[in-house]
Amino acid sequence: MRRILQQLNREVGVKGSMVVSPDGLVVMAELGEGIDQEVVAAMASSTIVSTKRALSLCGSEKFDRLILTAAHGKIVFVDIELAYLLVLTDKNINIDFTLLEIDGAAHRIRNTWKIE
């Protein structure tokens, strides 16, 4: 899994990635310099839990992907069944192109788990 994250981090504009469980447990993290792992994991968990709670009001807790764009970067959450793949990127990247790589990484992680 670490290799998959390292490979993903080599894509243009990707600043770091991690696999985090909905309760905030860091399964694996490959975050760049200057990114606070504990804060990102805690906030990722809070985002996942709160979004699911909100969605439950319309009858479905599950979400497949969340792309958050802010003034200085983007954060992508992808559901990988047991956990979420979280990717932090630069603000100026072409997200559609990077999403292909992120989805590929998510798919490989899911497969790794199935084999294990």
Partner: protein, 374 residues
Amino acid sequence: MGLFDTLRYKKDLERLEKSAREEPSTENFLSLIKKYISLGDQDNALRVAKQAVDQFADADDVFEIYCKLRRQQAQEEIETLKKNLKQRPTPSAFAQLAEIYKDLREDETAMKYCRQSIETFPNDDRSYCILGELRLRRFYSDFLRKDAQLAITHLEKAYELNIRNYRSLIALSKIYLQIGMVQKARQRLKSILLFAPEDENVKKLLDISANVPKPPHEDVDALLHQVESQRRLHYSLDRENAPVALSILSHEIFQEALESIKGAEGLLSLLICDEDGNLIARYAKENIDAHTYFEVTVAIYQTVQDSSRQMDVGRFQKAELEGPFGNIHIVSSDGVVYMAVGEFSVKSEILRKHLQQLLKAVSINAAKNTTKNR
């Protein structure tokens, strides 16, 4: 190039220089920069681009051309500095590299060199000063409390390490003044006068400070909280370019905009609210419970807005959520939050297009309203 060509180019240049000087606009500046580039005069192109960027900091096309020219000019310097850092790191080389990247608005890279410098040379004030200025630039654009707190911490550290750090002291004075910490601003300005007693800029700021409205308590956290929630400074030194508070837009402007796109392909609901989550206008397809969708989307908006602040990626701009329930897109613009809920079958691009149409319709209606009121 013949004599006539030379004369023609010279005349063209004089005309463009005059236009940029007398009627400064992004178009006039860009024409002049492109002319210099076509003549192979990179130095003058960069000089004009710098002037343009200083005057039109938010114009993307101006910054793009400036960045390209600056990068070309600095390429050799960057390589040399990186080589020097590998062989014999010095605080000056770290600071120079950070300054170049700061100028190119590559904040992450600039911060990286500052952090490395602080690790190796913790008693050098320059990197703290640059870090403070980088955070300050974010704060002046996003008005997020966290950026201001970090800026103040870094700039105060630079001042602690070097009591004659003019840049830090000026930056501190300006931020304190603009958030309402008037006494603190005056203290820092007076610290500059100790080593630069004739500084006109400082004297001018001291004069201004006498007229800045004083808040009841100079509590930095409370004042920053106020700036963040109101999205404007207590007092702006750049009064001409200070963001105008969003005019009170009537419910009708938004409702009218919603009417113009209701019934669009795959759209279940469109909702508009303010940043505190108060509903302004809404549309829902027949038999769709708009109230529930409003509760869901507002809760998601509040979550992602908080996450972007806490994760240090700046002010929230937009979110796109996909799942078995369909799609939810949220866009925040000028203090108003626009939320669209689409059917499961609708593609993200379509929903994005609907929201863009909605924003455009609001802006057209608001412009019409302003003209009518005049």
